[in-house]
Structure formats: C-alpha cells, structure tokens
Subunit: 338 residues, 2 copies
DNA sequence: CTGAAAGCGCTTACAG
DNA sequence: CTGAAAGCGCTTACAG
C-alpha cells in the first residue's frame, strides 16, 4: 500500500541499506551527494518509514503506555498533559488506556502494552494494587523482560515512581485550618479502599489529634461529586453536625466531593462558610471561580506527569521514588465565622 | 528478551505455524489436544505476542491515533473518554497526541501516526485547517494508502466525521434567552480565527437578528478562562454595557470564558444575573455546582467520542458526516431581572 | 489437520 | 563509503 524503503532505494539508485542510513539515522553517514538523492526520492515518493518494521528490526518500539482510571477526570487528564508535553519531540509515542477503575480492563491494558513492547508503563490512579495478584505478576514479567514500570501517586513494592505526599499535605491543610481558628471538624472520607482517599483522611485526622482534637465524625462514601453531595445531605438531614453548637469545618477527600457537598449545604438552606466551612483537595481548575472560592490542596499535577515522563527519558534507578508535596490554599469557603 | 512464539512451539512440540494458529486466532483450528498443549506451554513460559511482528505480518496494526489540542481541557478529555470506551475490548489501541494548538506538532503527530500505520486518525479541535497545506497533503497521502481520517467538530473537505452544530445550538440558545425575556445582549466571542468560536457567535447573532435585535457589542479576545475574565473587565471599566439602561445578557463562546467573566463581574461589585446575565457553551462538569448555576449549551461530548470510534469500527463511507446538536440548558445565571 | 517456507519492511553487523 | 544478506517475530498461502 504505502511506499517502502526498497522503492525509495530503487528510485535513488542505491541499496536499501544506504537509503536506511540516510533516512532513519545511523552512525554511518553516506556521502552528501548520495544522501541528497535519497532524500529527494523519499520526498518525491512520499515515503514514511513503517514504525512496526523499525521496531522489529531495532527491538525497540519507542512507545510508552499510560494507564489512568478516567481520562476525563481533571486529575488524570492534567497528568496526561504533563506526560505528553515532556515526551513531545522525543520520538516516543503515548498509548493511552482509560480503565474506569475496572481491574480486568487494567490487566488487559498492561498485557496489550506488553505486547506492543512499550519501553515503559506509567500507572496513575489509586487502588489496593498489591492485592491484584495477576496485575503484579504481569508487571513483574514486564520488568523481567526489560520494561520499566512507573507508578504515579500510588505505591507498589516492585516499582518506583512519583510519590504524592497525600498524608503530609492533608496534615498541612489541617494545620492551616487550625491556625485559622477552626476547632470543630468533620470528614467526608470517600472510599477508604482507595489508598489516596485513605491517606488524605489519615493525614488530616492525625494532625488534628496532635492538637488533641477529634473530628465529630468521619463519613465514608463515594469518591465523586455525587458522593460528596449525598454524604453531606445525609449528615445534614440526620443533624449529625450539631450546627447549633457552632460552625463545623468539613474536609472532603477531593474537590469534586467538596463541590457536591457545598451544593447539598445550600439545598438545606445553610450557608458556606458561615454555617458549614468546606475544604477539598486537588485544586481543580474551576475552583477559584466558585462563590465562595474553595479552600483546597494544590497538587502540581502537570509537573507530576512531566516527572513521570522523565523516568522514561533518563534511565534512573528502577525503584527510585520522587516525592511530590501538595500545598494548602486557603480561600473563602473556610473563613471562620466571627 | 521476551518469550517468542518459536519457544512456545518447541516447548509444546509443534511448529510455529500451529502455535500461531492456536494462540492468535485463525480460521484453521488445530485439534483440541494439541491446542491445549500449546496453551499450557504459552502460559508456562509467559508468552505475549509481539504486536509489532504481528502488525508487520498482518499488514494491520490495530491502532488508532487521536489528536487533540489539549488533553487537559474537559472538552477534549471527555471526547477522549468516549473514544476509549467504545474501543475498549475491540483490540484496538489508542495513540494520543496533545498538540497545544501548535500546527507543527500536529503535523508531526500525523506523520508519526502514519508511520505507525494506524487504521485511522481522529482529529479533534478547531482551526482553519484547510489553510494548513502540509497537513492536508499528509492526510491525503494517508487516505491514499488506506488510512481513515475522522474529523471531530471541524470540517475538512477531504474527510467525514462528526459535525457539531455549533451554529444551530447557539441559535437555539439565543431563542431561549429571547423567550425568557432578554432583549439587550453582548457577546464575548473569543478568537474569531477558531472555527468553533466563530460559528457559535454567528449562530447566536443571526438568531437575534431574526428578532430584529442587534447585540450592543461583540468583543473579540482569547478562548480561555482568562480571556473571558479580561474581556469582561475591560468592558465594565469602559462602561461599554450601559448597565444603567438595564440588565444585559452576555453570551460567552465557551463555559470557561463565562466563568472568568462572572468572576470579573463580581470583582466590579456587580451581581450575576441581576446586573449582568451570563451564558456559556459546552456544559463542563462543575457548572451545575456554581452559584448561581450557569446557563449553557450541553454538548454530548462523550457520545461524540463514541461515534468517532464507530467510524473506525464500522467501515462507513469515507466522507460520511454525522451531525450532532447541542441542547440549551437555562439556569440561574440568566434569570431576567424582575 | 500440521508443517516448511516465504514474506511483512526495516536495520545492522559483516565484507568488500 | 556502500551493498548483500541475515535477522527481528510473527502469519499465511501452499503442500503434504
């Protein structure tokens, strides 16, 4: 179908070997006069190298696999942008899999990436990964055959990657809220089976404990906007926050939960922050345009994506971990009632 | 490095041909007893087929290339999710390129996807594509060698795809706002060089004209959150909306512009919607949790992604165009001042 | 039903 | 510097 190297070589009156050396880089550089002829022939014929044939001959595909739970989630899509940006111009292409937190799909993606002989697999997201026997076996096999595994925001004994200090950042947020004067807290924890959610809650609660404060309650639920909305509705209906005794500051395990919670608070005729203060985590883009603007922890997601890509570009140690920390951003949603 | 088919065949005591037929699908099905032996050997050795070798032998890579301007933009990431979802389980992998509206990077992505012998290239985003001579030449060459080009949300003479009826949907939004009682309008048009932005503005303004109404002004600027913010600030500072004469309804060419504009309005001590009503376009996820909630046009982005993937799965006509329409959603931000 | 062999389109030691 | 040839790991007519 497409033009082959042999045709270019014939057109230029040289061997395939020479054409290959001219067109696709090599230490041996043919004479300029010949090189020129080859380039002209390639241009004339519209030649594009067959990446599959090159990969096979070179035993290297120049491919990276990126696995996320949901590419439409700003958390993951911003990381993906960072990865893309850093890899741009390197000649390495990104294969994307969005698995919807389905471990069967995740395993399928890993296997497909193995088949495609990707140089590395970047795994973003969070789950009790160590539990997933089959996935771990597949990844170990991948590593055994020279593949590189980079974890983003979740630990895995066998691989290095980017560690997000969810615990430390949540603790820092708690510290700022305490310093602002808050004393009564509640936590919308999301799904405790998600490592990310669990760590954020733990860091927050531990920091409170250092001050001798215990949250009124820690409510488990779903790690989504609707999860935050429904949890908050339930708590308010049950009167669980005892608002008559004063303002309560609610920490939500991520921003979209915080948005859902704020809407629920309003639906119950209450005000943010004077009745219920709300804080989230992630700093998703639209947060600053909310009214009131929303307190959160800012995560350098794009930078995280870039750093993950750096693991591929520069051959650092297999199990090296880069630690990234979030930074609390106090906004109007946690103003203390005067 | 990795296990090869030949080793599996040897382990099972059969030929490579037989092993191939058992493992990687074929019309010829070997005897069950032998098949079982081959499968066991593959399992024992941890065999994964080399996708590059398969692609080369089959002359088909089972790959699709997706080009977006910015994967972190919800518009594109939601489309990407739809594409992924529909392709999931089909054995087709997605190669992703996020080009940041840089036409050189876009061309590079197309060439790389051609090299990788992708079955199709899905182009999302909007620009004066027909102007880009090199891109058009490359895409035509791609089509000539059997590749399929699917345009998403932007036209290109040589290819079919998903047509977004930006013009019609913007007109429908204008109709609803008129029906609600608005009579004084302004438009934050974004960048008129972007086809998407231009069509939305045209549809909106044309519908007003049918009612004999002309907007107070159409302001050009940048198609981003900050663009909306800065445009609105400038207009308010200049007193361009003549608010003393009554409420003005401002149509922004996309949602993030609307968010920026709303923040600017508040910064100037004015209220949404009573002083200035605001409408956007796209229906990005957090819009419903805003206060006031924001009027917009809902686009079925995920469905658009799925349909684009369908172009690849089912071999429809090369230039077939599926038209998708957005639906106006009136919310609090455009309530008429009573 | 099974296998030997050619072929997919490149790259790269190895000779010349 | 240039070219003939083997090899990358599969698939698939073609024989048997």
């Amino acid at each position: 179908m497409a033009v082959r190297l042999a045709e270019v070589a014939a057109e230029a009156g040289v061997s395939a070997a020479t054409a290959s050396r001219v067109l696709n880089g090599s230490s041996r550089r043919p004479a300029e006069e010949i090189a020129e002829r080859v380039r002209a022939a390639a241009e004339r014929l519209g030649y594009y190298p067959n990446a599959q044939a090159q990969a096979l001959a070179r035993s290297s595909a120049s491919l990276v696999g990126l696995i996320v739970h949901d590419i439409a989630d700003p958390y993951f899509s911003t990381i993906a942008r960072g990865v893309q940006e850093r890899l741009s111009g390197s000649g390495i292409q990104v294969m994307l899999a969005s698995t919807g937190r389905d471990s069967a799909l995740e395993l399928e993606a890993v296997r497909s990436f193995m088949s495609h002989r990707t140089d590395a697999i970047l795994l973003a997201g969070s789950r009790g990964l160590s539990d997933d026997e089959e996935l771990v076996v597949a990844l170990e096999r991948y590593q055994g055959s020279g593949g590189r595994v980079v974890m983003i925001g979740q630990p895995l004994d066998l691989a290095g990657g980017i560690h997000l200090d969810n615990r430390g950042a949540a603790a820092a947020l708690a510290a700022e809220l305490l310093a602002a004067g808050h004393r009564r807290f509640a936590v919308l924890a999301g799904d405790p089976a998600l490592i990310t959610a669990a760590e954020r809650v733990a860091g927050f609660v531990e920091r409170l404990a250092e001050e001798g404060i215990e949250p009124l309650l820690v409510s488990e639920g779903v790690f989504t906007r609707d999860g935050g909305h429904d949890d908050m509705s339930r708590l308010l209906e049950a009167g669980a926050l005892d608002l008559d005794s004063g303002q309560v500051c609610v920490f939500c395990a991520n921003d979209v939960m915080a948005l859902g919670a704020m809407t629920a608070i309003r639906e119950h005729g209450l005000a943010v922050p004077s009745d219920v203060a709300v804080a989230g985590f992630d700093d998703i883009p639209t947060l600053g345009d909310m009214v009131p603007s929303v307190t959160t922890v800012r995560l350098p997601l794009e930078e995280i994506g870039r750093q993950a890509a750096d693991f591929v570009l520069s051959e650092v140690d297999e199990t090296y971990r880069e630690s990234v920390r979030g930074e609390p951003v106090l906004r109007e949603s946690t103003a203390v009632r005067s």
